[in-house]
């Protein structure tokens, strides 16, 4: 080997050796990096497909939730007829009165007085950094003032770069206050020389949604010309019921939480829908559709669109027929066998991975039929005659002019703005995944840009690994500001700055010190671990279905790994590359086969060690837990954490019919009697879950299982 005093021959030999050694090392290294890259992408896919499956769940129960909302909201039918703003606000003001609220001397948090000053804003930021909580009185006061301010704003805010040199646009924050702090730290606070646009989805998922709202609303009032807020699809109380914001508020404000939530509901509907920079860059939260009409959007009474679950839906059947005609397909209904096949043929998650048009159609047809069937069953069970309100078909909507367009069409305009996603293919399709809005193609973008002389669109709504992403030939920019959204290290957040030249400049960040100190490998491993944990939980939740699927291929208890992959996909339908993921999920025997029963037991053991509850019931609960919680919160109108027996009874009938659990009236009464609820006939959420478990046990299949032991660890 080479020493510096070696002969030239020696040195020559060393050079040749060094070359070979280098090639070898580089080969290994490149293979290692490629493996990491594959793991990173697979992990991302896992998170996205699970998120998608969750939203799919929501869509299946979507009509059911709507129905519940209508049933359990008092005088809801009357509300629809009356103009929203006037009559109700007087009542609202009385209910949410804060002036009589006393703030004790012991309160050390910030005290706000109106009109707000910059000092109030900085005091709030400091307080939140110290983990203090703003007194309910000030929260309500702030919300009142915010609502007052928002009411005078137009639907589309107009911003100019000539006043403030640069405009900073931020995307989804989702309750991640640390990200907002980081943005302010890197970019500076809002001020007369620093304009900000926040593009929706301030709340849900993250644990500090309320703090984010307070900060944003405060800056909005202090610098009304420099701070602009767009509404996102999560600025919607129905969505908040499911995704955590409602829970957060009730936990932080046990006494006044309900008032705060009610006020917030009234603030959300007054948030502007879009922002225009220099009349050239349109900023909306979700996207557009081929019927997006900015002139109409300017004129709509935006506050009437309270929630996505109360608006009208596009009638899918007609749109399908239209598309079928365009494709020259047969209009006949799909046979049941075809339906099953179609459902499993549609694996992909977001728009960027949408399957071929044919599959999407079959999928939406299947979803529509399933939901329709279940609604019919629900209705029959509780004997409700629902007057069929006039539902407009998609084609009829398209043909209407501005002046004639009824409220439904206007709602759809807002729905599209808040919920749509871009897709690579041309055209415009229903966004059946999210249950609202469309998938819009580059041609739709081009048309809108041309029609209104715009240069490009900025939107958010979708998590992006680098915090931002262009598509549609750089005409659509997605900006996402919640870093580590799925897990620490999963993605960066970003914000974009635009100067008078309207050329975007990006700043990326990751709001977690741990993420910085980790190497790429460690970061990927950590996120990967989290993804696989979530995936194993999902697999466990489908134990019975998987077991049957495996049995169908082999009765002796062994299957090949190839079979495993096929079977798992047919049950879970997540569209994941199972063969790539297999090593992390399954340990096979030397001959490449798997004893599936013991594999399923291993999965159960992992979950059980976290919950101490019997596996059969656990499985059902896991599958339905978030749905159950959402349903409970819908019924619990006043957010007291309690629902009455009567409400429970009615809801249970609906839900059990929906989930194929047969139970007679007597069965329900027995069930309720065995719940430990307090004397005035109220049930809290834990008891609600207990009831569910008990019912599952009393059905024939479950009776075979040994009785469950009560455990303090409730879900």
């Amino acid at each position: 080997m080479g020493h510096s005093h070696c002969s030239s021959a020696c040195r020559f030999r060393f050079c040749a050796l060094a070359f070979k050694a280098a090639v070898l090392i580089q080969r290994w290294y490149r293979r290692y990096v490629a493996r990491l890259e594959m793991r990173r992408r697979c992990t991302w896919r896992i998170f996205q497909s699970i998120e998608y499956a969750c939203e799919q769940d929501q869509i299946k129960l979507h009509n059911f939730f709507s129905y519940l909302m209508d049933r359990f909201t008092p005088s809801s039918s009357k509300e629809r007829k009356l103009p929203h703003a006037f009559c109700r606000y007087a009542e609202l003001e009385k209910y949410c009165d804060y002036e009589s609220m006393e703030v004790p001397d012991s309160y050390v948090g910030p005290r706000l007085s109106f009109p707000l000053l910059p000092d109030h804003a900085t005091a709030l930021l400091e307080a939140f950094k110290q983990k203090q909580q703003l007194h309910a009185r000030y929260v309500l006061n702030l919300l009142h003032e915010t609502r007052k301010h928002l009411k005078q704003l137009p639907n589309i805010s107009h911003v100019s770069t000539c006043y403030s040199e640069e405009v900073t646009v931020c995307g989804d924050l989702h309750g991640q206050l640390d990200d907002l702090f980081l943005i302010f730290y890197k970019n500076g606070l809002p001020s007369p020389s620093k304009t900000y646009v926040f593009n929706g989805d301030f709340v849900d998922r993250g644990k500090q949604s309320l703090e984010i709202l307070i900060v944003l609303f405060t800056f909005l009032l202090v610098y009304p010309n420099e701070v602009h807020l767009n509404r996102g699809n999560h600025e919607d109380h129905m969505v908040n019921l499911r995704y955590g914001f409602t829970k957060e508020v009730m936990q932080k404000y046990k006494v006044h939480g309900r008032k705060i939530l009610k006020m917030i509901q009234n603030v959300f509907c007054w948030l502007p829908l879009a922002t225009l920079i220099d009349e050239k860059v349109l900023i909306i939260h979700g996207g557009i559709s081929d019927t997006t009409d900015l002139d109409m959007l300017e004129k709509i009474q935006r506050h009437k669109f309270i929630s996505v679950l109360r608006g009208k839906k596009r009638k899918e059947s007609n749109r399908n027929v239209e598309i079928q005609e365009i494709n020259g397909e047969d209009k006949a209904q799909a046979s049941p066998a075809e339906q099953d096949g179609a459902a499993s043929a549609c694996p992909q998650s977001r728009a960027a991975q949408a399957p071929s048009m044919a599959n999407r159609l079959e999928f939406s047809r299947w979803v529509r039929q399933t939901v329709q069937e279940q609604i019919e069953r629900c209705r029959r069970l509780v004997d409700v005659s629902e007057s069929e309100e006039e539902e407009l078909t998609y084609s009829s909507l398209v043909s209407m002019t501005d002046l004639d367009a009824p409220e439904s069409f206007r709602s759809l305009q807002i729905l599209d703005i808040l919920w749509s996603d871009p897709m690579p293919q041309e055209g415009c399709r229903e966004n059946t995944v999210r249950g609202g809005g469309c998938y819009f193609g580059p041609d739709v973008t081009e048309k809108i840009l041309k029609k209104y002389s715009l240069q490009f669109l900025i939107r958010s709504h979708e998590c992006k690994q680098e915090g931002y992403e262009f598509c549609h030939n750089r005409k659509v920019l997605t900006i996402f500001s919640a870093s580590n959204y799925y897990e620490i290290g999963s993605n960066r957040g970003a914000y974009v700055k635009l100067g008078p030249d309207l050329v975007p400049h990006f700043v990326q960040y990751q709001a977690n010190k741990t993420a910085h100190t980790l190497t790429m490998t460690q970061r990927i491993s950590r996120v990967e671990e989290s993804a696989f944990r979530a995936l194993r939980e999902k697999l466990f939740a489908h134990t019975s279905a998987l077991s049957s699927a495996f049995k169908a291929y082999d009765k002796e208890g062994r299957i090949t790994l190839s079979t495993w992959a096929t079977a798992v996909e047919s049950v879970l339908r997540l569209g994941l590359p199972w063969r790539m993921l297999r090593p992390q999920l399954v340990r096979s025997a030397a001959d490449g086969t798997l004893e599936y029963q013991s594999w399923l037991e291993d999965l159960a053991m992992e979950q059980r060690s976290r919950e101490h509850i019997q596996s059969g019931l656990l499985e059902v609960i896991y599958r339905n837990r978030s749905n159950l919680e959402t349903i409970f919160r819908i019924i619990d109108r006043d957010h007291s954490g309690l629902i009455s027996f009567e409400e429970f009874h009615q809801t249970w009938k609906l839900f059990s019919s929906h989930m194929n659990i047969e139970l007679t009236d007597d069965g329900i009464s027995d069930l309720v009697r065995s719940i430990d609820f307090n004397k005035d006939g109220n049930i809290d959420f834990n008891e609600f879950l207990e009831a569910f478990r008990l019912v599952k046990q009393s059905t024939p299949a479950a009776r075979a299982k040994p009785p469950r032991s009560h455990d303090a660890n409730r879900i």
Binding site: A22, Q425, R579
Partner: protein
């Protein structure tokens, strides 16, 4: 399920992970990642040869699954681009460690990786340094690093 069919399924899965537009094509720059994550250890030169086989007549910057599948199937069936054994990797580092100290300095590492063999890009070099270099001594203890690079083959 036949061996070939299973191999084809595996290749298709790996391919689709990088197929962002769901139209059975991937960016040509991702082919290296796909081939390597399927268990192969091609050199850059070997990769270029493979690319020549799967590219279109007039290169478009995209590779079609149709062309990729048969070529990649053959690669896997014939077990081309197999790795050299791990101990040879250790010898490679030792060969570069002229003073036999058990580590390489940052300068040495950068020199060899960016000037010898099939040179790293700046990005590749930075990535390796961030993971391999001990920030206090600015050296790379290659024996420790090797354990990272040894991955279980799928």
């Amino acid at each position: 399920m036949g061996l070939i069919a299973e191999i084809e399924k595996k290749i298709t899965e790996a391919f689709e992970v990088f197929d962002h537009e769901c139209n059975q094509t991937v960016d040509v720059r991702e082919i290296g990642s796909i081939v390597r994550s399927l268990g192969c250890y091609p050199t850059e030169a070997q990769l270029h040869e493979l690319l020549a086989e799967v590219e279109e007549e007039e290169p478009t910057g995209y590779i079609h699954l149709q062309k990729f599948l048969p070529v990649m199937t053959r690669v896997l069936v014939e077990r081309s681009y197999q790795p050299t054994p791990e101990d040879v990797l250790l010898h490679a580092f030792e060969a570069l460690d002229v003073n036999k100290c058990g580590y390489l300095t940052k300068e040495e590492l950068v020199k060899y990786m960016t000037e010898e063999g099939e040179p790293f890009t700046q990005e590749e070099m930075e990535d390796m340094l961030s993971a391999a270099l001990d920030p206090e001594t600015n050296t790379m203890r290659y024996k420790d690093y090797i354990t990272l690079m040894i991955v279980d083959d799928v």
